[in-house]
Amino acid sequence: MKSCRTLISWLIASVFILTIPGMSLAGYDYIDITQPYLRKLPIAVPFFKKISTGNDADQLSRTLSDLLSETLDFTGYFKILNREAFLANPQTDAGFANVIFHDWTSIGAELLVTGGILVKDNLLEIELRLYDTFKEKLLVGKRYKGGISDQRRIIRRFCSDVIYSLTGDRGIFDTEIAFVSTSSGTKEIYICEFDGYNIRRVTYTKSITLTPAWSSDGQWIAYTSYARGKPDLYIKHLKEKRGTVVSKKGINITPAWRPNQFDLAATLSFSGDPEIYLLTGTGKVIKRLTNNKGIDVSPAWSPDGKHMAFVSKRSGTPQIYIKNLASGQVKRLTFQGRYNTQPSWSPKGDKIAYASMEGGLNNIFVINTDGQNPIQLTHNEGDNESPSWSPDGNLIVFSSTREGPYRIYVMTGYGTDQRRLLTLKGQQTQPKWSPKMTRK
């Protein structure tokens, strides 16, 4: 019985109910991806129409349409319209299949999501549609079948299709965020889904455990822990009991996986001085990447793996530098401010986010990779650290003391829509957004 249900839950059928002609790259002009947050797209998400009767359908009609709204809202692209202004009754046919577009354009909705929901014996069948109300056109139409427990996955998958039809990118709905939390009394690593749901603990070191870093296939995580009494580098497979520990003399810190490779850069000080090295995924030193007396730390790879940003004190204060791996050339990126650390290279390749400290407090900045145009994204709201880009390059996750203890927040790459990701006991720091995962 259980295996049968598991089988069903894995067999979420997603079927195109209508082929959509003309869906090509030309369809991606809804959201100007160079300035996506200047004008948010007004979208209406009425409660889903109940196709079956009963309490389950009644409740799911509301909770799932809410979940869909929240999930779309998370991207920062949309203005979710208030349901009280809606003219159409979602429980009539006009609320689902036979849409009267004027009902929606007259309240300012440019996009509309309707849904029909059928619940039977713990099985869920949902049909979801995305319309362009002005063009009076169906953009996405899908039907999903699964267990009740698959509801979040179904909604995320549809949202992924919505974002794909509007931007040409699948978005972040299958991603996760790793972070450090003191909930258990010591610093340990935790992972949650992109929207803060489904928090789970990854390490049980009862020690100081820091700086999680995802491999580009999302299968491995590297971090530093004092589990054996000193700062060692742990490389761990997230599902299987595999991994290794790099435990050289001195510090073994700040891992950063090279995109699409099973190797990673990390800072080791066995030579007596913190330098960045390239290591295999099994923890063997391949080569040394920096050569400078003094601090070199915090490597961050360009998406093509050809350049590495890092922090160095070679000019007297901590600043961000970029090394061209092929030529060996190093150039300084940041000149504004006296303490610039924690570089994170945008997956789009054109920007680097970092933390800049003034008066003892950090704020998040982004700068073009040519060193032009540093822009401050957080202002006058406590200490703001550890920026990490979402894999679609649209959002930045970071930690902040704006509400007291360190907690995890998300904002767009332009600094808009700043909000808390989750609430958990203790303090949360050092968030790291996962790469895009293969669909589960």
Binding site: L210, I251, P318
Partner: protein, 192 residues
Amino acid sequence: MRNKLWIILTLAFIVPGLLFTVSCAKKAVKDDAALAQQAQDEEAKAAKAAAEKARQEELARQQAMEEQQLKEESTLKQEARDMFLNDDIHFEFDSSTLTSGAQLTLKKKAEWLQNNPDAASTIEGHCDERGTSEYNLALGDRRANSAKAFLVDLGISASRLTTISYGEERPEDPGHNEESWAKNRRCHFTIK
């Protein structure tokens, strides 16, 4: 015949009686001599005991003096050890350069290490909470290594010195002001 019997009987009583008398007299003489000898022995013994007692007292006095001296020495040793453990060296913000005060403290630590050739030490590098934790781990490493290099230059074998960086993870003072930060920018020394 009858008279002969009486004589024999009488003799039978007298002779053992005489014999008894003789033996008694002899014994008394012997006891007197033993007593005299005993008295003499006891006198010697007492003299000997007195001498021994005096010697013991002298020994105890010497031992007490030695103990006192040892105690004073061990107090000094303990104080030196405590100073080695408790006197942290401090740094300027974002700096691993040894201040003149830090150098003075390190010289005392080198002296202690020279006086205690079997001791090995771990040097912990710490930072204040400002700045970012990754950079501070590297800075703490630099601080511990600066202190180590200074001690090695003063003749302490590098093999007796281990470094560990705690970055900003283990502040000495939990405050959020310059006074606390100054305390937290430090190297702390432990003995293995």
